[in-house]
Amino acid sequence: MENDLVVNNSLRALGLENSSAEGKQSMGLVMARAGLGKTAILVQFALDCMLLGNKVLHVAIGEGVDKTRAWYDDILAVLTDGEKIETIPEIMHNRMIMTFKESGFSKALFEERLEDLVKQGIYQPQCLIIDGYDFEGNTKESLEEFKAFMLEQGLKMIWFSAVSHRGDERVSASGVPAPCHDLDSVFDTVLLINPSKDEMKLDIIKCDTGSIDPGTTLLLDPSTMLLKKA
């Protein structure tokens, strides 16, 4: 069952695990308007990493530990169809949640916390999820510095989420909406949740490190918040 979760995962379509297996480091971004399911997608990325034996550090800005844990429990319950899997408690050893208030999160503080974990040998994450980062209040330079620091820490995969706003028409040449329209070059992968009348599409705007199967479209099932192939 655990193996099924890895092999049959729709995330395989992105082929991201191949690049990390090759030792490449990548930084991705999931964008959507508020309330469409960014956290659900990030949690699926995190769970996929955890199932592959990697350690995940999930940084939730503006959310509590319990609420973040509940996302994992819910997604896992849907993925496993409620079936009990012996190794799940073991897999949860691969996750640590760190939460900050919106006003309390800073690059310097996070760097201090991550260094604490790594230097003391408490936890060495390979995948980092940052949910709720304030892109509007931070510059491209500070994000680039942040990226450099995180890559120095040996992280294989970093995922951010960002909220796009309906009224903001700014968009980059490759189609990345505001507030990340100037940040194309910082991210290797950019995904955008694009709701249409009948379904929720996941547009793959950019995927430099992965090997996307030709013609692949991913959809987000609104009832389960799971990714599925179209």
Binding site: G64, M96, M98, T99, K101, G104, D116, L117, Q120, I122
Partner: protein, 693 residues
């Protein structure tokens, strides 16, 4: 006694240790004229606060046993249970919450919402207890009630809103602004008895008006009339606001927040008004009982004093007046001299004396009715028993009681101590369902077990002080368990023919892991094991579960299925099949890959953020799995799962790591297999112990 149930409030006062709830209770008793002088918890007069009646509580300045007390305010009867603040005593808190209709959640205006407040809040939510919050100690340096209200929202997920604004803070705390009446309330005189109502200070008027508007808008969600009045933009009748707040509070959707300083005698009377206005009376709450004549189906108690009596014993106490049983009446009434039935034992009990307790003083009464909390004299029962009249057979729903996770040996120093210890243990096990005791057959030692080091320490102290039982104490032992990890077959023949009648029995089947503690499945067909010996097999398996062969811990999570066997017309007996099953279990157990399980505790460590790294390191060194960290300003909370065996002495380590600025709470989470290295150590220690025995 008030026969009008709308004028009765059964409330608890729960909070984090040191947030001042005992001082608050003391002031409540003073203002309701139950006592005529104020004694501080750790006061110089040596009297101690009224609610801390046990000597040990007085000495440590903490509340261990919830003492029940009664008072009256504005014609409302209030029964108060003062509850302990240490997580080790949460069964006391849970028991209190079971019988209460509402609660006051006390918070320190400096410390704010801390880990114990989170635990207590979770318990209140589990029992659907509506609450009002009281932010105490507003006279302290660093007091910030607005921040604490924010924490109530963020950390506890409560829809908390301040009903008052403090007039001044820290040393300048003078009184409060009532945001409904829009008046300033000052508490004057030596003990704050004289209440002076005045206009809101000019510099606070704008802010107060803004806050009132926000409050009214928020509570209008719970009242259509208030919503309409708000839309009409005219003057709003205060009663509409009171009603809306009450409705929101009772539905657990709103938590009104009050501020003050019990120590400085400020804001307590307003809190009492809030208890009257916002907390439920017994008829506002639906309590369920189990119908024992109808397969324990649930039914709602009526609260009607004319209906048959239903009464729950929620606390036993051995005090200077003999054995006291605290009861809550859910329906019907009780007169002195009445005979009632204990639903668990079926025994008749005559109620000789009935009284209201006022901490450790009492007031005899002639009768009590639905909704009342009173104490009975000389009734032999256990905590959690239900009393009824002969017209009805029911039991109140059972309480969630956690299993003990730690044990230690107690050795009486002489014969007298042995007798006193037995008396004490008998009492404690009746009083506290999480405290258990048994005699280890192999060592002959008396073992006590409970929910944590402090939990057991307090009972040992009580044994010495209250019962004069001088005992020596062994090192604390973790309650390990053994279980199997896979299915395994067994086929065992027990044969003994050495003179006299022989013994013969063959038992075959398999063991398999399950979630529950134990299950016995009889799949015998064709009578290969006669019916009369099936029970013997079950008994034999159960006996095998008492002590596992890895480290001597009890075995859980096993299903024993028997599907074949053989018997002898003469030599087969109950004993023969019991022994055959013991042998069969032993054979199957080793093949079923047994593992040792240890209790894992959910630990929350709180402290200044500068120590976060050190705290995480200390948890990590203890085989802890860090689940998450929450950083809020200068304060961090680290949540982790840590094996209990690694938590001994952690408070000392934490103190030295953080200059005494951090603290932790823990509660049982689950049993998990121990790592291989620990398992090997435990097995070796058990083998050595057996060799030396």
């Amino acid at each position: 006694m008030n026969t009008d149930l709308s004028k009765v409030r059964n409330i608890g006062i729960s909070a984090h240790i040191d947030s001042g709830k005992t001082t608050l209770t003391e002031r409540i008793l003073y203002y309701t004229k139950r006592i005529h002088a104020i004694h501080e918890v750790r006061g110089k007069d040596g009297v101690g606060a009224k609610m801390d009646s046990m000597e040990l509580e007085k000495e440590r300045g903490i509340t261990i046993q919830s003492a029940a007390t009664y008072c009256s305010w504005n014609g409302i009867d209030i029964n108060i249970i003062d509850t302990p603040g240490h997580v080790d005593f949460t069964v006391e808190v849970e028991r209190a919450l079971r019988v209460l209709d509402g609660a006051v959640l006390v918070l320190c205006s400096v410390g704010g919402v801390q880990s114990q407040s989170i635990t207590v809040n979770r318990q209140m939510t589990r029992y659907n207890v509506p609450r009002v919050a009281f932010i105490n100690k507003c006279d302290r340096t660093g007091a910030n009630p607005a921040k604490v209200t924010g924490q109530l929202r963020d950390k506890l997920g409560l829809n908390a809103h301040m009903m008052q604004m403090p007039i001044g803070l820290e040393n300048d705390l003078k009184g409060v602004v009532d945001l409904i009446t829009m008046k300033a309330v000052y508490f004057e005189g030596e003990n704050g008895d004289d209440i002076r109502i005045a206009d809101i200070p000019a510099d606070m008027q704008d802010e107060a008006a803004e806050k009132r508007e926000a409050l009214v808008e928020e509570v209008s969600m719970y009242s259509e009339e208030l919503m309409e009045a708000l839309l009409e933009e005219g003057d709003i009748d205060n009663q509409l606001i009171y009603d809306a707040v009450r409705k929101g509070t009772l539905s657990l959707e709103f938590t009104p927040v009050f501020v003050g300083s019990a120590y400085k005698n400020k804001g307590v009377q307003s809190l009492l008004d809030a208890v009257e206005q916002y907390l439920p009376c017994p008829t506002d709450v639906t309590n369920m009982a189990l119908d024992l004549k109808n397969e324990e189906s649930e039914f709602a108690v009526t609260n009607d004093p004319k209906d048959p009596l239903i009464m729950l014993a929620f606390k036993l106490e051995d005090g200077r007046y003999g054995q006291l049983t605290y009861v809550r009446t859910y329906q019907g009434h009780l007169n002195k001299g009445d005979t009632v039935y204990n639903s668990r034992t079926g025994k008749k009990v005559k109620i000789g004396r009935l009284c209201r307790m006022h901490s450790n003083e009492m007031e005899e009464i002639e009768n009590c009715g639905s909704g009342d909390i009173v104490a009975l004299f000389g009734v032999d029962c256990a905590s959690g028993d239900t009393f009824t009249t002969d017209e009805i057979s029911c039991s109140m729903t059972s309480m969630h009681i956690p299993e003990p996770v730690i044990s230690l040996a107690v050795i009486p120093t002489d014969n007298k101590a042995q007798i006193n210890m037995s008396k004490a243990l008998n009492r404690f096990t009746k009083e506290d369902p999480t405290f258990k005791t048994f005699v280890d057959h192999e060592t002959g030692e008396t073992i006590i077990s409970g929910m944590g080091e402090l939990h057991l320490e307090v009972y040992i102290e009580r044994m010495k002080r209250e019962y004069g039982a001088s005992v020596e104490v062994g090192a604390p032992q973790v309650a390990y368990r053994e279980t199997i990890s896979e299915r395994a077959d067994f086929n065992y023949t027990h044969k003994k023919q050495t003179g006299g009648s022989g013994q013969y029995g063959r038992v075959a089947g398999f063991l398999e892991p399950i979630e529950e503690e134990y299950e016995f499945v009889d799949s015998i067909v064709g009578g290969v094991i006669p019916r009369e010996f099936i029970g013997s097999c079950d008994k034999g398996f159960k006996k095998s579960l008492e002590k596992g062969s890895l480290c001597g811990a009890p075995i859980t999570g096993v299903r024993c299925t028997i599907n074949d066997g053989a018997y002898h017309a003469v030599d087969s007996s109950d004993v023969a099949f019991q022994l055959a099953s013991v042998g069969a279990f032993k054979e199957g157990y080793l093949k079923a890959k047994p593992v040792i399980m240890e209790p894992i505790m959910k630990v929350a460590v709180e402290g200044p953020s500068e120590f976060q790294g050190a705290i995480m390191g200390s948890v990590n060194q203890r085989r802890g799995m860090i689940i998450g960290s929450t950083e809020e300003g200068n304060y961090s909370v680290i949540e982790a799962e840590v094996p209990l065996s690694e938590m001994f002495g952690y408070s000392t380590t934490l103190r030295s790591l953080t200059q005494g600025k951090a603290e932790f709470t823990m509660e049982f989470s689950s049993y998990k297999p121990v790592p291989k290295s620990v398992s090997e150590e435990l097995i070796k220690a058990y083998q050595d112990e057996r060799k030396n025995a």
